[in-house]
């Protein structure tokens, strides 16, 4: 069989490297659409637009669940007792230290808005249960207080507060 001779090595090497490089760049570029197609599509993103929730029907001591971007959002109308409990906890006792004020909107202490997804492995904690009067995750026993902060169990972080704002005193916009 024919074998390649060794003359003109450098010019040939340059050509081979250039061709290989261009082909590799093209091959890498084809990965872009193949990867991008798995990201949320335009309709999913559009459906994730902010939602407005009317707070008037939620009575004191009641917690409701709404859905935003497919996630359960707890809106809890806290009682005086719950607010006090949340405020008086010493930060030193918290695995993920945060004051209650950092977790509610100023002047709206009674409204606690949380992403109802346990920071351990994604189950939905049950409201008004557990030793801290807050949320109890039935999957692996994580316990959250009346501010949604982690107090005991395997979850590493406090329940997340979604982006939201008060449109009026009785209406919030989540997202």
């Amino acid at each position: 069989m024919t074998t390649m001779s060794s003359d003109g090595h450098s010019r040939r090497d340059f050509l081979f490297i250039a061709t290989g490089t261009v082909a590799a760049v093209g091959g890498a570029a084809t990965l872009v659409p193949l990867v991008a197609q798995m990201n949320p599509d335009a309709s999913t993103i559009a459906a994730g637009a902010p939602i407005e929730v009317d707070l008037t029907p939620i009575t004191e001591g009641q917690a409701i669940k709404v859905f935003w971007r497919g996630k359960p959002i707890y809106i809890s109308h806290r009682t005086k007792k719950e607010i006090e409990e949340a405020q008086k906890v010493s930060l030193a006792d918290l695995p993920d230290p945060q004051t209650d004020a950092q977790r509610v909107k100023k002047g709206h202490d009674q409204w606690l808005v949380l992403v109802g997804i346990c920071t351990h492995l994604g189950c939905i904690p049950i409201a008004h249960q557990g030793d801290y009067d807050g949320f109890f995750c039935p999957c692996h026993g994580s316990q959250y207080d009346t501010s949604g902060r982690i107090r005991r169990g395997p979850a590493p972080l406090n329940l997340a507060v979604p982006p939201y704002e008060f449109v009026s005193d009785s209406k919030i916009k989540i997202g």
Partner: protein, 706 residues
């Protein structure tokens, strides 16, 4: 590898060295301890080395031999794009069509993946036909390559089945009626035919069970194909490749190692092939499809002219040429199965047509027969077309069953060269390649020439801003067109696949978000049930789709004199007209894709008084010069001055028609601008890479040709 070295002496051709000693093909030598450790447990390195590196390949292979590699590449492209499409497709009769449209509109690069997959199927068949005709021309099916050839015929059959199953999945009109016609082939079986068809359908007609099983099988078959391809390649590596002389390699002077020689040559031509592929996928992605398949499947209405995909057309012509149902179906399947018997039907001992003067002529007549049969398959089954189909069908079988066996006995072949390295081949292959590519292109176009139009005149060509490789929508025109839609069309026609957010997206009318929100707020859509379970209306939001003007089809018909105003979301792609020869060939190069828009403008402006002697079928129909059959259910929708434009564009029917049609084209193809832009980048890249690969190939082959 160490275990079977003896098999590789001179394998696959019993090659000798120049001194006449048995030639031992170089073996894989693991470069380090780890590789040696693996190799002694799983000799995969040796397998790959023997298959793709040291494998001796005849030094005189021409570019026709690159199509095997191209086919493997296309199989991979189809499997990858297909698996990705499945992530977004819903195999349900109520959702399949819309899920495909969601891929086209919403999924990131979804339009690209679908167009690659749909056009990839056609490219796969282009390559397989070239590959098959090459095998026939050079007698590649002859001993010792009979099983290699038969495996190829099996792959081809599987490809046809896979292509058919895939075409049903978008659940358009052609999907549905193609599935109906093809499954009905089996009803020709005596006695049990009807039961077999019911079994295939999983019902009393094509329905959801049919779609789901077709989807499952469409996913399965490509992997079966991949399996048979492995057998095909295995058989190839046992018997070695044929070559243009048909004389088996004898000494090492006749061969070169697969890598780098065949590898780089295959890669170069694969890249050239991709240029053609990209041209179709990015610039004329619907050229090979049927406008009818952008109409959702309707079990109550058969399209006026059912045509299969272009790659089935010759066999479709054979089917229709025979006036008996069972015989027709037998002829169709027989015409394909006979190919498996070619090794025995062809009695000549000489392989290559290069040395068979008579066979060479018959070969080209056979190729022409297949092409013309393909063209006939796209024509209505009437008059001279039927007669021509019968003559050519007869010839197809005569060629295989009579001419080939006899030729071997009566033909005097030319003297064969002693060896490959002695042979001096004429380089006619490039011209022949070009001829075949043009021929194939011509066959493609026939699919488009098939929509029956009842002799309506061709619509005049409108100059569109979005035509051609650099085409872009005219924003002002889209905004005006949207105004026409809202003030006129919307009263009867829905736009159900378009969302309000689309109005503000790039590449469309590009209203501001605030404008789009304001438009949305003017529409009412159903809200979620409230706490009492009541469903109320709420103003639409950006994420909502345009609500339909009627609650259902019955309500629409009741308000429109019995006619059902079609949804307008993909209307501009769901209409077209017969281009005719030779325009349809030129369309490939001019990138003409505006048959739908031209037709829509023609219909909107084509209202006239009926000519003397023309009787409208009912009082609720109207004469239209361009509508098929001329009697249209829609009264003349536009009149001068009806819609007020704020931008100084003329308030005429002509202008309204063009504007609303441009808007509908955008509604049907919202990513057209992104497609053409990316197409330009991809083409530029492929041309540069082809050039580089060409020079690389020249350098690599320099020593062989010297």
């Amino acid at each position: 590898m160490s275990g079977n070295t003896s098999n590789h002496q001179g394998w696959p051709y019993n090659l000798k060295t120049e001194a006449g000693e048995p030639y031992v093909i170089p073996q894989y030598e693991p470069q380090n301890g780890v590789l040696r450790w693996i190799e002694s447990r799983l000799p995969i390195g040796g397998l790959l080395f023997g298959t793709a590196v040291s494998f001796p390949t005849p030094r005189n292979l021409n570019y026709w031999w690159t199509f095997g590699g191209i086919l493997s590449f296309m199989l991979v492209v189809q499997i990858i794009t297909g698996i990705v499409l499945v992530m977004h497709f819903t195999p349900h009769v109520d959702m399949a069509f819309n899920s495909v449209e969601a891929i086209m509109r919403d999924v990131n690069y979804g339009w690209l993946l679908r167009y690659l997959h749909a056009n990839g199927a056609s490219m796969f068949f282009v390559a397989v036909y070239i590959h098959m005709f090459r095998g026939m021309y050079y007698g590649s099916y002859k001993a010792p390559r009979e099983i290699l050839w038969i495996l190829g015929v099996i792959i081809y059959l599987l490809m046809m089945a896979t292509g058919f199953l895939g075409y049903t999945l978008p659940w358009g009109q052609m999907s549905f009626w193609g599935a109906t016609v093809i499954t009905n082939f089996f009803s020709a079986i005596p006695i049990v035919g009807e039961s077999v068809v019911t079994w295939l359908w999983g019902g009393y007609g094509i329905g959801n069970p049919t779609l789901q099983r077709f989807f499952s099988l469409h996913y399965l078959l490509p992997f079966v194909i991949a399996g048979v391809v492995i057998l095909h390649i295995w058989a190839l590596h046992v018997v070695g490749q044929n070559n243009p002389t048909g004389v088996e390699p004898r000494t090492v002077k006749d061969v070169v190692p697969f890598t780098p020689y065949a590898t780089v040559k295959d890669m170069f031509f694969m890249c050239v092939f991709c240029v053609v592929f990209a041209w179709f996928a990015f610039y004329i992605p619907n050229y090979l499809g049927h406008p009818d398949n952008y109409i959702p499947a309707n079990p109550g209405v058969t399209p006026t002219h059912i045509v299969p995909e272009w790659y089935y057309l010759p066999f479709y012509a054979i089917l229709r040429s025979i006036p008996d149902k069972l015989a027709g179906v037998c002829a169709l399947f027989g015409s394909i199965l006979l190919l498996a018997f070619l090794p025995w039907l062809d009695t000549s001992k000489v392989k290559s047509a290069t040395y068979r003067p008579l066979y060479r002529q018959f070969f080209w007549i056979f190729v022409a027969t297949c092409f013309v049969l393909g063209w006939l398959g796209s024509k209505p089954a009437e008059g001279g077309y039927v007669l021509a189909s019968r003559v050519l069908t007869a010839w197809y079988f005569i060629h295989l069953l009579v001419v080939l066996p006899i030729l071997g006995f009566v033909e005097t072949p030319k003297a064969l060269p002693n060896s490959i390295s002695e042979s001096v081949l004429k380089k006619g292959s490039v011209a022949a390649l070009v001829a075949l590519v043009i021929g194939l292109a011509a066959t493609f176009g026939m699919t488009n020439s098939a929509s029956a139009q009842d002799h309506a005149p061709n619509p005049p060509a409108v100059k569109w801003s979005f035509s051609g490789p650099f085409g872009k929508y005219d924003r002002g025109q889209l905004q005006r067109g949207f105004k026409v839609y809202r003030e006129v069309c919307q009263a009867c026609h829905s736009l159900s696949l378009v969302s309000f957010r689309n109005l503000a997206e790039k590449g469309g009318p590009e209203f501001s978000i605030a404008q789009a929100e304001a438009v949305a707020a003017e529409y009412k859509v159903k809200a979620e049930p409230d706490d009492n379970g009541d469903v109320n209306d709420r103003p639409a939001r950006l994420a909502d789709r345009f609500p339909a003007p009627f609650a259902n089809e019955q309500a629409a018909r009741a308000s429109n004199g019995g006619a059902y105003p079609p949804d307008m979301s993909v209307l501009a792609k769901a209409r077209g007209y017969e281009r005719g020869f030779p325009l349809f060939i030129a369309d490939i190069f001019t990138q003409y894709q505006e048959g739908g828009p031209d037709y829509l403008v023609a219909v909107l402006t084509g209202y006239e008084n009926p000519p003397a002697g023309f009787k409208l079928p009912s009082a609720s129909s109207f004469y239209n010069k361009y509508f098929p059959g001329h009697a249209i259910g829609m009264p003349k929708p536009l009149s001068d001055g009806q819609v007020e434009y704020g931008d100084g564009a003329p308030a005429t029917v002509d202008q309204y028609s063009k504007d609303v049609t441009a808007f509908l084209m955008w509604a049907a193809e919202p990513h057209l601008e992104a497609r053409k832009r990316l197409g330009l980048q991809v083409l530029a890249f492929l041309i540069i890479l082809s050039g580089l690969l060409y020079f690389t190939k020249k350098k690599v082959w320099n020593d062989v040709h010297a």
